[in-house]
């Protein structure tokens, strides 16, 4: 399926070819992003970033990607949302923006909001997170990071830690990883925050999955840590019991060539002392977001791709 003019709403249904195309394109933009240069491949295009809930990192990452490709950007985020679109329906907002922009990037607290936007918009829509549902560009930048750090995605054991129930990044990533060969997903989470059964049921047969009964970092090639929000627990005792911490002691149990990833923000899951270890890949992962989002925007917006 060609990327030109296409919506990117979900990682479900993204095929390996689709993914590989983006990863290759991201590689071609990586030096521009790293060296903070720009190109003019999207000169004259307008990219709208509509953030109905705050996420400074993701918004800046998309905006930087658009600007490094020579596109102009419009949009809102954080505090400005309230005055701009409060009281208006999502579909009205999208129709108005659709008349202005060549592409719409949307972040919204409601699940399915990006699909709803895509239904009324002529311009392609990119989902930058919809509730607990999907965050497909995060999955793509995670895959890009794994490939870059480990040289391959096929055959790896990937351990997902933390809130696997509400964490949309792990949902999108699990779907995307199912397209690769011989990957094994390992899960470890508080009992109440397990990977939803509907996802494991759907992925069964496509990817190996295993629940780890203990906090064991030693088997994984990639440790993908996510935060556990205190608000998920009614009882603060429960939170204390199930929150986890990766410091130098825990890091020492990881394979020497493993990598540690985190979609940010972290709230104490990973100690700062770990940052200096070469296995700590999370800042590189975050930075990769720019060239991956450049790849997505360029593939969707330029005919020659």
């Amino acid at each position: 399926m060609t990327w030109f003019g296409r919506d990117l709403v979900t990682a479900r249904g993204l095929g390996r070819d689709d993914i590989e195309e983006i990863l290759r394109e991201a590689d071609s933009f990586s030096s521009i992003a790293r060296e903070k240069r720009s190109t003019d491949t999207l000169k004259g295009k307008v990219v709208a970033t509509l953030f109905f809930e705050p996420s400074t990192r993701t918004r800046f990452s998309f905006q930087t990607a658009a600007m490094r490709l020579g596109a102009r950007r419009i949009g809102f985020g954080d505090d400005s949302v309230t005055s701009t679109v409060k009281g208006e329906t999502l579909s009205d907002t999208i129709k108005v923006i659709d008349a202005c922009a060549d592409c719409i990037v949307i972040r919204h607290p409601l699940e399915g909001a990006a699909q709803a936007a895509a239904n009324v918009s002529e311009a392609p829509v990119i989902n930058a997170g919809d509730g607990a549902n999907q965050h497909p560009t995060q999955a793509l930048l995670d895959l890009y990071t794994i490939r870059k750090e480990k040289g391959t995605i096929d055959g790896l054991k990937i351990l997902m830690l933390g809130d696997l129930k509400y964490g949309r990044t792990v949902h999108s990533l699990a779907y995307a990883l199912s397209q690769f060969d011989d990957v094994e997903l390992l899960f470890h989470s508080p009992p109440a925050l397990r990977m939803p059964e509907q996802i494991t049921n759907e992925l069964r047969g496509q990817i190996k999955m295993r629940e780890l009964s203990s906090f064991d970092l030693s088997q994984a090639d990639v440790v993908y840590a996510t935060r556990i929000q205190k608000e998920r627990f009614a009882d603060p005792e429960e939170y204390r019991k199930y929150s986890y911490h990766i410091g130098t002691d825990e890091l020492a149990t990881m394979k020497t060539d493993a990598i540690l990833m985190h979609p940010f923000p972290r709230v104490g899951e990973i100690a700062e002392e770990v940052d200096a270890d070469p296995r700590a890949a999370y800042f590189r992962q975050e930075a990769n977001g720019i060239c991956v989002r450049m790849a997505v925007l360029n593939k969707i917006l330029s005919r020659k791709g």
Binding site: L90, G112, Q115, A132, N133
Partner: protein
């Protein structure tokens, strides 16, 4: 064609029965009465999954306030597929939305439309590949509960499972048909 069911001698619940007159054993008519009332005008839903009748009535919006006679037959041996449920509703016509909702619970059932004690129409319900604007999404964080129309796509037929085209959650058909999720 008159109504005839293969379940004559099975226990049955009736929504409404005439009080029996003490000491006045009249055969024939009362025997008939003890089985299932024929209805003059209304619908008979046949071949419902065993045990589903009450939920089907809910999905159809037939509650205790419903003015017509309602007869329910549950877990009756059927010549075709083991046990089945059956409901007869006097004075009820079926709207498309109600029918689509009932179909989610009873995807293989048959609807008989009765007029003047005769079956004037008989058809099987069906669940389309896309069920649009019939039921609400049970996920309260789903955008369709804030605006727009719900769309569910059939992902599996046996058992019947549908996926919300927006929030991507997968549901058993029975979860969707619950009256709590009735559209509007």
């Amino acid at each position: 064609m008159t109504e005839k069911h293969d379940d004559k001698h099975q226990p049955q619940a009736e929504g409404k029965t005439k009080p029996q007159t003490e000491g006045k054993a009249v055969h024939g008519a009362d025997d008939e009465q003890l089985r299932v009332n024929k209805i003059e005008n209304g619908i008979v839903l046949d071949h419902l999954p065993p045990g589903s009748a009450l939920k089907v009535l809910d999905a159809l919006g037939v509650t205790a306030e419903f003015p017509g006679t309602v007869s329910i037959l549950m877990k009756s041996p059927s010549s075709r597929h083991g046990l089945k449920d059956l409901v007869k509703i006097e004075g009820k016509a079926l709207g498309k939305t109600e029918l689509d909702r009932a179909a989610l619970l009873a995807p293989h059932s048959t609807v008989n439309v009765i007029k003047g004690f005769k079956v004037v129409e008989k058809y099987r319900v069906s669940v389309a590949d896309e069920v649009k604007d019939v039921v609400r999404c049970p996920n309260n964080k789903c955008v369709t509960n804030a605006e727009g129309k719900s769309i569910f796509r059939v992902e599996e037929r046996n058992p019947l499972k549908l996926r919300c085209a927006y929030c991507e959650r997968l549901y058993h058909a029975a979860e969707l048909a619950s009256p709590a999720h009735a559209q509007g």
